[in-house]
């Protein structure tokens, strides 16, 4: 076992434990804060995968925007849910079963396969390459534009849905 494996195991353990706390804690603001820990450790995983840009985007987008939105929504709607009431519905045992079964089958499937080993590659130009690919007519310009249209539609839709009706 070498250094990178130890780092991976530590980060992975943090990810899994905090994710479990996200879905099980009774205090929802706490679980949102644990969600931030999960998201952050996923960003560390991206660093381990040498995708620095992905790691930073993960922090900007998930922690800087989505997690704050979630905490904000949690505070706005906090009167509706007291911390004492049960946070799980009646189908939690079945859900647990489904999740466990899904994990066991997925893990079995994943480990039955032979995966390629880590190839050595020069990744210094990845960010540049990514930026050029997103605006290159022969590469990914169409998905990129569709994603931006999706974002604008989501923006307008969110404002319309959540705004005060006059």
């Amino acid at each position: 076992m070498n250094l990178s494996q130890i780092i991976f195991l530590v980060v992975g353990a943090v990810t899994i434990i905090s994710a479990v706390l996200v879905v099980t804690l009774r205090n929802l603001v706490h679980s949102a804060l644990w969600l931030i820990v999960t998201l952050f450790s996923v960003a560390v995983l991206f660093v381990l995968l040498e995708a620095g840009f992905m790691a930073v985007v993960q922090v900007v987008l998930y922690i800087g925007a989505i997690a704050i939105l979630i905490i904000f929504a949690m505070m706005l709607t906090r009167r509706a849910m007291s911390d004492e009431a049960s946070q799980t519905n009646g189908q939690w045992p079945a859900s647990l079963l489904i999740a466990a079964a899904a994990f066991v089958s997925l893990a079995g499937l994943l480990n039955a396969n032979a995966w390629p080993a880590l190839p050595a590659a020069d990744l210094s130009g990845t960010v540049r390459q990514l930026g050029l690919a997103l605006v290159n007519l022969n590469a990914f310009v169409l998905p990129f534009e569709v994603a931006s249209v999706l974002l604008i539609v989501a923006l307008v839709g969110a404002i319309y849905v959540a705004g005060e009706k006059r």
Binding site: L33, G52, F53, V56, I63, A65, A67, I68, I71
Partner: protein
């Protein structure tokens, strides 16, 4: 033993430390680890000790703005006032309110200091002196400031106090909103330098600083940065006269001190970032040959910006929350988008049609484009102001016949018209 290099004293010290540890028989990876740790601790300590000076500076300058002397009792010119304040805060009782969420409450001030200090990891002090020259430096800065927002929300929520919660709400509304134009205008230096690395951005400002090439972007970045640190005129998150002290109302002792430390350090940090991204960072005469001079230029520019921040703080009144958001969404966001498009267009045109033109031509073209853009913007504002004035005053003046159909029920003008 490494060779002594007078221009690079810090690099020399770094190498000397490595050589000395090597002679002690410590294996190479651990030597590198210790070297890195020492560097990290020295940058962090520098960042954490700075507020001791900047707080004194701020109180002194703000005092002059308000026609008084400022601190002048402890030490020469009151220089040791901050130490006295720290000792006072340390001896105060450290209270955690009964209804508070203890862990989150105590974690929040630490997180706020941490989020500011980690920005210093990518700040280039000189041509040879930068903590981590990562290739996504600008995005990293934006990412870290998101952590600061979360720490304020944690502090406000966990205090179990309605004013603190109000402060947290305002934080979420203000900081997230002002991050939008900030990220957009950060594209301008990134575009001009052709890189997201902070050191590359400073290197690209050899001929002309980006404040010359993109004054609009620089100004918007500075305004949004002041909003990000939550200072006057954008201090709605802690507005003393409205919600007492906002998110840190329940904090006492050194925990309160940590909020203050975070705020003052953040205020200086945005000056550093403005200096690095728009004022050329360590660039200056002979800075490349003698890196120590670069540190001097860097600090001079940063403290110059800090003076402007104090100036703004001492002279502007707090703006109302609807004005704050109207200003952001109706002015800053469109203008920053226009600035990005304009810069991209002009830069591309210059590099395509004048391939041999140097940086001077490029900077002149960009400056001209910015000036024209600002003039057009002022024209639009002028028209808007005229229309607004006509709408408001038209009903009052009966001789202005066409103003009559601007009057709708519920408008201030309508009441005047019926009174006539």
């Amino acid at each position: 033993m490494p060779e002594f290099n007078p221009g690079n004293v810090l690099i020399y010290l770094y190498q000397l430390l490595g050589w000395w540890l090597g002679t002690l028989g410590i294996p190479a990876p651990i030597v590198v680890l210790i070297q890195l740790l020492v560097s990290i601790i020295s940058v962090g300590a520098f960042a954490l000790l700075l507020p001791i000076f900047t707080i004194w500076l701020e109180r002194k300058v703000a005092g002059r703005f308000q026609d008084r002397l400022g601190p002048n009792r402890v030490g020469p010119y009151g220089l040791f006032q901050s130490f006295a304040d720290v000792f006072k805060l340390l001896t105060k009782e450290d209270i955690t309110p009964a209804g508070a969420d203890k862990v989150v409450f105590n974690l929040a001030p630490m997180l706020t200091v941490l989020s500011v200090v980690t920005i210093w990891a990518v700040v280039p002090f000189a041509s040879t002196m930068v903590g981590a020259n990562i290739n996504v430096g600008v995005l990293y800065i934006v990412a870290i400031s998101g952590l600061g927002t979360i720490s304020i929300m944690m502090g406000g929520w966990s205090s179990n106090n309605k004013f603190a919660l109000l402060g947290a709400f305002r934080t979420a509304a203000q900081l997230v909103a002002y991050e939008v134009p900030m990220i957009i205008v950060l594209l301008v230096p990134v575009m001009l330098a052709g890189s997201m690395g902070v050191q590359d951005i400073v290197n690209a400002q050899g001929t002309a600083w980006f404040i010359v090439m993109a004054p609009v972007a620089g100004l918007i970045f500075f305004i949004t940065s002041i909003a990000e640190i939550g200072r006057a005129p954008f201090d709605l998150l802690e507005a003393e006269s409205e919600i007492v002290a906002g998110f840190h109302i329940e904090y006492t002792g050194m925990k309160f001190g940590m909020w203050m430390l975070g705020e003052f350090l953040h205020a200086f940090t945005i000056c550093v970032l403005t200096a690095v991204l728009f004022l050329g960072g360590w660039q200056g005469p002979f800075a490349k040959e003698v890196p120590v001079l670069g540190i001097v230029y860097f600090l001079l520019k940063s403290f110059g910006m800090y003076f402007i921040v104090i100036w703004v703080r001492s002279t502007f009144p707090r703006i109302r929350i609807d004005h704050l958001h109207a200003f952001n969404w109706k002015v800053l966001v469109p203008v920053s988008l226009a600035a990005v498009v304009l810069t991209a267009l002009v830069d591309k045109l210059v590099t395509t049609y004048l391939p041999g033109a140097g940086d001077v031509v490029r900077a002149t073209a960009l400056l001209a484009a910015n000036v024209i853009g600002v003039l057009a913007l002022l024209g639009i504002f002028r028209q808007g102001a005229h229309a607004e004035r006509e709408r408001l005053e038209g009903g009052r003046d009966a001789s202005h016949g066409e103003a009559a159909h601007h009057d709708e029920p519920g408008e201030p003008g309508a009441a005047h018209a019926s009174a006539h």
